[in-house]
Structures are given as structure tokens and as C-alpha cells.
């Protein structure tokens, strides 16, 4: 599924960035790479931007950018 489809509080494991060029490269540079785990912290109402926690830091992105990240929803214990 796509990062943009996750609800606040959901944990995920990145499966890959589906687009290349500027936006995709930027997301990959910021740490969205295979196997990286993260968590959706919150989303603004009316499909506003979302806050995501990966690699120990927080990132803000719009729904349209989050739709470029393929993820697998994780359940269970938050990993360290």
C-alpha cells in the first residue's frame, strides 16, 4: 500500500519509492529506502500534510508526495 493511505499512529516498513527524478530522489535522499521503518505521527485534516517519523527524525510531506512511497503496514511492537 501507499504511505498516503496510512492513518495516524500506523507503523510501516518502506518497500520503495515508486517514482524517480526530483520528488522521488528527494524522498530517497531523506531516507525512504527499502526496509526502513517509520511511523505516521499525524495528519492535518482535509487531506493536509502529514508528519512521519523515520530514521529518528520527523518529516513533513504532502499527501501527493506520500503517494510516491510504497509501504507495508506493520503491526506489533515498535522497534527501537
Amino acid at each position: 500500500m501507499l504511505l498516503s493511505e496510512l492513518a495516524p499512529g500506523a507503523r510501516f516498513r518502506v518497500q520503495g519509492v515508486t517514482i524517480g527524478r526530483e520528488v522521488g530522489k528527494r524522498l530517497a535522499d531523506m531516507g525512504f529506502n527499502n526496509g526502513v521503518e517509520g511511523e505516521v505521527v499525524r495528519r492535518l485534516f482535509l487531506s493536509g500534510p502529514m508528519q512521519v517519523r523515520i530514521l529518528g527524525y520527523n518529516l513533513l510531506l504532502r499527501k501527493s508526495e506520500a503517494a510516491a512511497v510504497e509501504v507495508q503496514a506493520e503491526t506489533g511492537q515498535p522497534s527501537p
Binding site: K25, R26, A28, P49, Q51, G56, Y57, P80
Partner: protein, 715 residues
């Protein structure tokens, strides 16, 4: 490579991600010895400074904060050009220890440039507090990048950092250590490197390894640089083919694969050297963000914050403003008797002192506003504001990050226009700069206050507020229109780091306030003084000589028109009429009459026309011009006098006053702002902005005046 000797000068580039503490480290390294300029050809700030230590000179260049060495943003291109073309002896990379993996990502790209790199593991105090421990020696050994812990805020660790710099510069670049991209990619990189190195002239200028990697990442700028290689076409073809192979082999674009490999390498290097706490403790930042970034409350909180900033500014600013006002009143009163009498005295006292004083009394307000905005910026609220407003701003074609320059615009357009540099896409930058003047600046405030007090005495505050609201609404509306016409294009991505909340330092705050205010105060002292004198001159010259006998004729005519008037009234009426004549006879009068047809449809007479034109020097000059134009007959133009003078004048109605407020709000702010716009955007965009703002201002004032007159508000 120069300067590698013990005593030679070291040229050091300071680089790193935004928010790593680079500015703080630069200040700690250079003290007050630095100068600020621009990188050639682009509007990215360039700061240089130096430090002498044990007889050795260290020269520092501060590079813009970036996340990666791609060539997608101006900042990245500037960094790349500086490193490739100026070839510093050493790069000090500033890393945030609390967020090590992502910060190492950029660090390793610097290493690929073949320039020695030293890492400053900054924010080590915060890392310790969070229970993060880093084995800096071991990490440095694995990566081939010497590292040491620093706290840029206090200057801790700087000596060790410079020791490492000395040693690294003496040792030259380290070719043994470098990132490995794995068994599939390395052979392809090797082939590219070999082909690039085949042209020795070329290879001297560009590091082969770095260029090979960038070519696989399909980097447009790297491809352009390759153009000067003798086998450029063949290498480009080889790179294309390799990238395509990687694409199919890994099932995703080569540039994404390479990012992944870098992070994989970093993960390997930090596995043994970085210890994170078992569980991340809920931090204060999380608690504050739960409220400030609440899905529903974020936007109302932003509105409340904005309102709070304004209320506080006006509440606190009222005191110093009153003191300054009293001071200038006292100055005018005590200078009056000292100066020789006549026209000169009245104009020095009423025109110049009242004009400059009127402006300077508003400086405390501007300083306070900038101070509060700096607090918001330095604590980290501005990223939250971008989060809160992006959805709404995006609907109008703006970007969440436009919110900061727009807020500064309420203070002064000049720093606001410069702050638009933080927007990475040129289109967003142009758009934001285009609408900043509609955020009613501090210089327009005296005009609004004067007119509102004169014509809406019972609703003055509401009238001023309405003008601000109209400004914001028209800013958003214009953005919407421009985004669909002159500035069409793909929306820029919103991918932004959210830094933790931080306690601002007094030094940082004062620096920001100083930077923003200096421009405004300097303008008040020079431009407005000069403008006041100029306005006085053009309204007084050429002198109108009264022909012999003319005065008697006028007196007779006046007495006939006012049969019941006494001799005092006659004197006052005569001098008013004479002043009126000499005004009409002066340059300003002739000019005003000439442009009257242009402003008459807005309900303005020629005097108001003159005031709007002199307002280009600075908007506060509108007030002093009106003071001179209306104060002449009465002999007084300070605050209350001018107010009643205007209110009593038949040319003015509340509708005219409101239209003037609208017109002043929308037309370009002042020469200083126009000059800034020119440096930021160039002549053609300046011309466009000028035309756009002037026509919008005229049309809005015209529409309001016509409709108002039609439904009979004018009466």
C-alpha cells in the same frame, strides 16, 4: 592543493544539513570577524570569516544548508560549484548527533569529491541528554572521516575540531576509504571512472569517482560538466546504458538505488558505533506538537499566534512610540524659536521634523514585530506554521514555506522579499515576492492610522484591521490568478524536516532583529529625511511672486465674498489663498495638476496625487507630504492638526480616505523594496510586479470609489 603546510593558510568550507547548527558553529569559529555577501549570479547568501590560531590562519566559507548534493535547488548548485570550482583545502561537515544516519548521507557525498572531510558531531549535548552515544573515533576510522563531538552553542569541542582539521589537511584526501555501492554497481562505476580518467586535463578538474556516481544518478548538471571531456558522447552513452541496466536489475530507477546503497553503507558503519536508547522517551517536543500541530487546532492556533504577535506588538509598542512622539514634539517646540523665522522655519519644524519623527516613532513597533517573529523562527514554530498553513496556501497556489516571508511583510517588505530565498522553487519565490507588498508593511501603518483617525474616529482600529484583511485577501487572490496565468506550472513538492523545539538564544534573536531592522531604520534616517526636504523644495519652488496691487485686489474680492468677516478672518483667508496659489504654482503643484486626470477617477484631488507619488520614496512620506500640502495655511501639521485639517477639507470624504488607504496598500511599497525586488528577480519581473501592483491598486480603488459614489456613501 595549497596550504597543506603547518603554517599555511587553510581554506575551509563549512557544510551540512539545515538545522545542524552550522550558523552557530560558524559564529563560534569566526567570532565577529565575518562578512556577508552573495554567491555570484545567484541570491544565496555567502558568509566568509576567519580565525587565527597558533599563528595559522583559517578561512571559513559558510555553504548553504542542504540535504544532498543533487542539483535540484539553487543551494545545492551553489554548494557544488563552490566545492568543485574553488576547491577548498578541507570540508568541515556539521552533523546533528541526534540524527546521525541522515546527516552522514551528505557527509559521504562530500568524501566522494576527493576533498578531505572532517566531521563535527554537533548537538552532542542533546544527544547525551537523549541517551544516544557515538563512538566518534571508531566511526571516523570506519568511514575515513575524522570526527569529534561539538556543542556549537557554547563553542565546546572547537579546538579538537581544528586539531583534526590540521591533521586531515596535512594528510590530503583519503582514497582508501570510500563508500561502496555493492557488487552490481561497482564494476559499472569502475568502467565509467576509467573512461573519465582517460582525459587527464578533464580529470584534474573533476573528481572521476564523483562524476561517475552522479552520471549514474542521471544528474543533469554532471552531464553538462562532462561536455568538456574529449569522449563526452561515449561516456554519456555508457552512463545511460549502465543506469538503464541498474534500473532493470533492481526494478527501480538508478538514482533511487544509489540512495539506498548509501544508506545501507551508513547503516553498516553505525551498527557498531552508534547506540540509541532502547525506547525513545516522549519528549517535550512531542507534547507541544500534540497541541500546536493538532489536526484540527493547528490552523486556529496559527491564526491565534498571528493575532497574538500583532496585539503584543501594538500593546508594548505604544509606550516607546509615545515617548518618541513626545520627544519630537519637544524638539519641534524648542527648535522653533531658535531658527530664523519664515518659510524655512515652518518647513523644518513642520515638514522635516514632523516627517522623520513620525517615521521614527514607528520604529519600536517594527523592532518588536521582528523580535516576536524571530522568536517564532528560532524556536522552530515556523515549520509548524508551514504545516498548519500549507493546505490552505496550496489551494491558492502558494507553498507552506511562503508563510514566513509573508509574515515578515507586515514589518517591512525589504527583509520579507529577501526571506523568500528560503523557497527553493523559483516560481514559488517569484509568486511570494509578487504578493508580499500586499501584506501591509509598517511604513503604511502611519498613513492608515492618520486617515482612520481622521475619517473613522469611532472605528479607527476596525478600519485599519479591515485594510490588513483586504491586503491578505488580495494577496491570496492574486496568487491564485498568477498561478493560473503568468506563473503556471507543476506544484513544488512539500517535503520538509520538522526540527525539534529549541530555546532561542538571545544572541541569535538580536542578530535576526538587527538584520531585519537595520534596513528600515537606515531608510528612515536617510531616504525619508531627503524625501522630506525634496518634497518641501518642490512644493515651495518656483516661488510665486505676488504682483503689486494684486494683494489688495484679492482682499477686496475676499471681503465681498465674506461680508460678515472681521479683519482677523480676512488675514487668515488671504494667507490661505496665497498659500494655495503658491502651491499650485510650485513644481509639485504643476506635477499634481498634470497627473490629476489619472487619480481623479479614484476620487483624489491633485494633492493626494502628489502624496501618492512622493510615497514611492517611502510610504510614511505620504503623511509628511500631506502635512506640508495641507499644513501650510494653518501653520501647523503635527498629528491632531493635520487630522482635523483633512477632516475639514471639502476634497476629502470618508470614502476618499478609504480609497486612498486601499490604493496605498496595493501600490508598490517604496524604492528600497523595488530595488530589492530588482536584485532578487531582475528587471523584467520587477516591471511585471510594478505594472501588476499599480493596476490592481488603481482598479480596486476605482471600483470602490465608483460603487461607493453610486450607492451614495460619499455624502
Amino acid at each position: 592543493m595549497s596550504g597543506g603546510t603547518r603554517q599555511g593558510r587553510l581554506r575551509i568550507a563549512l557544510a551540512g544539513n539545515p538545522n545542524a547548527g552550522k550558523t552557530s558553529l560558524f559564529n563560534a569559529l569566526t567570532g565577529a570577524r565575518h562578512k556577508v555577501g552573495n554567491y555570484p549570479g545567484v541570491t544565496v547568501e555567502k558568509r566568509e570569516g576567519s580565525r587565527i590560531r597558533e599563528g595559522r590562519e583559517y578561512r571559513f566559507i559558510d555553504l548553504p544548508g542542504i540535504y544532498s548534493l543533487t542539483a535540484y535547488s539553487i543551494d545545492e548548485v551553489v554548494t557544488r560549484d563552490c566545492l568543485l570550482d574553488e576547491r577548498p583545502d578541507l570540508i568541515i561537515d556539521v552533523l546533528d548527533s541526534t540524527n546521525l544516519e541522515r546527516h552522514l548521507y551528505l557527509c559521504l557525498q562530500f568524501q566522494e569529491l576527493g576533498i578531505p572531510v572532517v566531521g563535527a558531531l554537533n548537538m552532542s549535548d542533546e544527544a547525551k541528554a537523549q541517551g544516544i552515544s557515538i563512538d566518534s573515533y571508531e566511526l571516523g576510522k570506519i568511514l575515513g572521516i575524522p570526527m569529534t563531538a561539538t556543542v556549537a552553542r557554547t563553542g565546546e569541542g572547537i579546538e579538537e575540531l581544528l586539531d583534526l582539521a590540521d591533521r586531515a589537511a596535512a594528510g590530503g584526501s583519503d582514497d582508501l576509504h570510500r563508500i561502496s555501492y555493492g557488487p552490481e554497481i561497482e564494476p559499472r562505476l569502475a568502467a565509467l571512472e576509467l573512461a573519465i580518467a582517460a582525459d587527464p586535463d578533464f580529470a584534474r578538474r573533476f573528481p572521476a569517482r564523483w562524476l561517475a556516481v552522479k552520471l549514474l544518478e542521471k544528474d543533469g548538471d554532471a552531464l553538462e560538466r562532462l561536455g568538456s571531456h574529449r569522449d563526452a558522447a561515449a561516456i554519456a552513452a555508457l552512463a545511460r546504458e549502465s543506469a538503464a541496466w541498474i534500473g532493470t536489475h533492481f526494478g527501480k530507477d538508478a538514482e533511487i538505488v544509489i540512495s539506498g546503497q548509501r544508506y545501507g553503507y551508513i547503516h553498516g558503519a553505525t551498527r557498531e558505533t552508534l547506540r540509541l536508547p532502547g525506547r525513545r522517551a516522549a519528549s517535550l517536543t512531542d507534547a507541544i506538537d500534540a497541541v500546536v500541530m493538532h489536526p484540527f487546532l493547528a490552523l486556529p492556533i496559527f491564526a491565534l499566534t498571528l493575532w497574538g504577535v500583532f496585539s503584543l506588538t501594538f500593546a508594548l509598542g505604544a509606550y516607546p512610540t509615545a515617548w518618541l512622539d513626545a520627544f519630537f514634539r519637544w524638539l519641534a517646540a524648542s527648535l522653533g524659536p531658535v531658527l530664523p523665522g519664515g518659510a524655512l522655519r515652518s518647513h523644518v519644524v513642520d515638514g522635516v521634523i514632523a516627517g522623520v519623527g513620525g517615521v521614527l516613532s514607528f520604529v519600536p513597533l517594527i523592532v518588536l514585530l521582528f523580535f516576536l517573529i524571530s522568536v517564532l523562527e528560532d524556536t522552530g514554530y515556523m515549520s509548524r506554521a508551514a504545516f498548519a498553513t500549507d493546505r490552505a496556501l496550496h489551494a491558492f497556489g502558494l507553498h507552506g514555506q511562503s508563510v514566513f516571508p509573508m509574515m515578515l511583510g507586515f514589518g517591512c517588505s525589504v527583509p520579507a522579499i529577501m526571506a523568500a530565498r528560503t523557497l527553493k522553487s523559483p516560481r514559488d519565490r517569484i509568486l511570494t515576492i509578487m504578493i508580499i507588498p500586499f501584506m501591509s508593511c509598517g511604513a503604511k501603518l502611519p498613513v492608515h492610522v492618520l486617515l482612520a483617525a481622521a475619517f473613522f474616529p469611532r472605528h479607527a482600529a476596525a478600519a485599519v484591521m479591515a485594510i490588513y484583511a483586504v491586503g491578505v485577501a488580495l494577496a491570496l487572490g492574486s496568487a491564485w490568478v498568477l498561478r493560473r496565468t503568468a506563473l503556471r506550472g507543476e506544484p513544488t513538492p512539500f517535503v520538509m524536516e520538522l526540527p525539534p523545539w529549541r530555546r532561542p538564544t538571545l544572541r541569535g534573536l538580536l542578530w535576526h532583529v538587527w538584520e531585519n531592522t537595520a534596513m528600515y531604520a537606515r531608510k528612515a534616517g536617510t531616504v525619508i529625511l531627503a524625501a522630506s526636504i525634496l518634497v518641501w523644495a518642490v512644493t515651495s519652488y518656483p516661488r510665486h511672486e505676488v504682483a503689486p496691487g494684486e494683494r489688495e485686489a484679492m482682499a477686496a474680492a475676499w471681503s465681498q465674498a465674506h461680508p460678515a468677516a472681521g479683519s482677523d478672518d480676512l488675514e487668515a483667508g488671504l494667507s490661505r489663498e496665497l498659500a494655495e496659489r503658491s502651491m499650485t504654482y510650485s513644481f509639485a503643484g504643476r506635477f499634481g495638476k498634470a497627473i490629476e486626470p489619472l487619480v481623479a477617477p479614484l476620487g483624489f484631488d491633485w494633492r493626494i496625487g502628489v502624496a501618492t507619488v512622493t510615497g514611492f520614496a517611502a510610504k510614511e512620506v505620504v503623511v509628511s507630504t500631506l502635512g506640508i500640502l495641507y499644513g501650510v495655511g494653518a501653520g501647523k501639521s503635527e498629528g491632531a492638526g493635520l487630522r482635523s485639517e483633512l477632516a475639514a477639507d471639502p476634497a476629502w470624504t470618508p470614502l476618499v480616505a478609504f480609497c486612498l488607504m486601499l490604493f496605498i496598500l496595493l501600490i508598490p511599497p517604496c524604492f528600497a523594496a523595488l530595488a530589492t525586488m530588482k536584485t532578487e528577480l531582475g528587471w523584467s519581473w520587477l516591471g511585471f510586479a510594478l505594472a501588476f501592483q499599480l493596476s490592481l491598486g488603481w482598479l480596486v480603488a476605482f471600483a470602490v470609489f465608483s460603487i461607493g459614489t453610486m450607492i451614495g456613501i460619499a455624502a
